[in-house]
Symmetry: C2
Subunit: 287 residues, 2 copies
C-alpha cells in the first residue's frame, strides 16, 4: 500500500535549482521533505530558506524512511544513482527523477529491485541560472511535468507521481520515454545549441566592436538566452540524447540552407510566402 | 537657423508601431506632432490615442511647415519617399528615417536637394507585433538610437537628431551606415532567420505530435519569438542588407557545423571547454 501524498515523506536528492525548488513546493503538501546533498553548506542554506524539513549528506540515511525519492541531479549522475540506490530504499518506495532525457533513465530503472516502484519525470521548467540560490518553488507553477512510467510501474505509483506534480502547480503529462526524447530534442535541446551558435557567431564577428553591445536589442537577448544554461546539465543532456539532437540539428541545418538560398534569390514573392507561413506558425504555437 | 526641439513641428510619416510610438513620445517635447498616413482611419486612431496633435493623408500638406520630418515606413518605402519628398520640404528641414538598414538609405539621402538636412536613424527597439494598435511610446525608453549622419549633415542637424532621440528616452549613438549594417546583420537580422529556421524545424518534425506544444518551455518560446516579426518589414531589411546577412548566415552555419561535430564526438572535455566559453561570453554580453 502506498501512502497518499499528504502522508508521505519525500526525499529530494540534489538541492540545486530544480531539486531545491521542488522541495520548497512540496512542503506542506506532504508529511515531511528531506533533502540530500553532498555538501553540508547546501543543506544549511536549504534549511535557512525553509525549502526542506531536514537534510543530510548521507544518502542511505536520507532515503531510509522515504515514501518517495526524487533524484534531482544531472542525468548521468541520476544513472549512477539508480544503479546503486535500490538496496537503500524501503519496500514500496516510489523512485522518481527530474532528468531532461528519459530513454536512458527508464532503461536504468528496469534494473531496480522488485520492491521499488520506478517512474521517470521531467518538469518542463527551469532557468538559465543553476544552483540552490536560484531556487524558487514558483518555477513549477503552470509547467508541464512529463511522467514516463515503465511497464512495471503500478497505477498507484503513477497516480502518486501525478499528485506530486500537481502539488507543485504543474500539469502531469504521461509520455513514452523515446517520444519525450524526440520531442525535447527539437523543442528544448536544439534551441540551446542554436543560441550557442548565435553567441559564438557574434563573439567571432561583431563583438570586437564595442558598439555591438550598445545596439543589441531584445531579439538577440531573447534568442541567445539559453546559451547561458548550466554546462554540466547540458552536457549530460546532449550525451544522453545524442541521436535525437543530431537529427534535429540536421533538419535545422537544412532549414537554414533553404533560408540562405531564399535571401540570396532576392525573390520577394517567395520570401513573402515562406516567411509569412513561418510567422503564422509561430502565432499558432503561442497564440 | 534650426529651431530647437521644443519649438519644432515634427511630422512623422507612417503611423505604425515605430512611427506611432515615436509620435506619442515626442508630444510635449516639441511644438506639435503631425502624423501622415495613407489611411484616414489610422489618423483617427492616432488622434484618439493622443499620439499626434493633428494628421493628414496628404504628404505635401503634412510636411509643408515641418522643422523635422521622420520617415517611419518600411525601408524600401523610405527609399522611394526620399527620392520624391525633397521638393516638398521647407528650407532647413531635418529629414530623418527609422529604417533598420542604413547604407542604402544614406546613399539615397545624398540625392536630396541642398536645402534639406539629411540624417539616418535606427532605434534599436520594437516588438514582434506591428501596427498602430501595438504602438506605445515606452518602447523607445532605454533603447540605443543609432544616427548615421552624411558628410553634408550639419552639426546643428545632428544635435537636433540627438535631442529627438533623448526626448523619447533613447540614447543616441552615431555610427557609419556600413558599420551599423554589418553589426545589425549579426545582432538583429541573423536572430530573425535563426528563429525562423527553428520554427520551420519544429513545424516539420515535432508539431504533428500534439504533445509537442504541451511541453514547450521558455527556451523555445524565447528563441523563436522574433520569427513572429512583421514580414513586410523583414523582407525590406533582408533585401537592403542582403550582403551582410548572407555573411552572418555563413558564419552561423560554420558554428552549427562545429557544434554538430562536437555533439557527435561525445568528447566531454572538449564539450565542456567550448560550451563553457560560450556560456561565459553570454554572461559577459548581458551581465
Amino acid at each position: 500500500m502506498m501512502k497518499p501524498l499528504n502522508e508521505a515523506q519525500i526525499t529530494v536528492v540534489g538541492l540545486g535549482l530544480m531539486g531545491g525548488s521542488l522541495a520548497g513546493g512540496l512542503r506542506g503538501a506532504c508529511r515531511a521533505v528531506v533533502g540530500v546533498s553532498r555538501r553540508e553548506e547546501t543543506i544549511e542554506k536549504a534549511l535557512a530558506r525553509d525549502l526542506i524539513d531536514r537534510g543530510t549528506t548521507d544518502m542511505a540515511e536520507g532515503v531510509r524512511e522515504a515514501d518517495v525519492v526524487v533524484l534531482a541531479t544531472p542525468v548521468r549522475v541520476i544513472l549512477q544513482q539508480i544503479a546503486t540506490i535500490g538496496p537503500l530504499l524501503p519496500e514500496g518506495c516510489l523512485l522518481m527523477d527530474l532528468g531532461s532525457t528519459k530513454t536512458k533513465v527508464v532503461e536504468a530503472m528496469t534494473e531496480l529491485p522488485e520492491h521499488v516502484q520506478p517512474l521517470g519525470g521531467h518538469p518542463m521548467c527551469g532557468k538559465e541560472i543553476s544552483g540552490l540560490d536560484a531556487a524558487e518553488p514558483a518555477i513549477y507553477e503552470g509547467a508541464t511535468f512529463i511522467l514516463t512510467p515503465l511497464p512495471r510501474t503500478s497505477e498507484q505509483a503513477l497516480a502518486l507521481g501525478r499528485d506530486l506534480a500537481r502539488a507543485v502547480g504543474s500539469t502531469p503529462l504521461v509520455l513514452e520515454a523515446e517520444r519525450q526524447d524526440f520531442l525535447v530534442g527539437t523543442v528544448s535541446h536544439l534551441p540551446y545549441l542554436m543560441a550557442c551558435a548565435l553567441v559564438a557567431t557574434a563573439d567571432d564577428t561583431t563583438s570586437p566592436d564595442p558598439a555591438a553591445w550598445k545596439i543589441v536589442a531584445g531579439g538577440f537577448r531573447d534568442t541567445s538566452r539559453v546559451a547561458g544554461s548550466d554546462v554540466t546539465m547540458m552536457i549530460d543532456i546532449l550525451l544522453t540524447n545524442q541521436e535525437e539532437v543530431l537529427k534535429a540539428l540536421d533538419v535545422l541545418q537544412g532549414k537554414l540552407d533553404e533560408l540562405t538560398r531564399l535571401v540570396e534569390s532576392g525573390d520577394e514573392e517567395r520570401m513573402r510566402a515562406v516567411l509569412s507561413k513561418i510567422q503564422q506558425t509561430r502565432l499558432e504555437m503561442f497564440p
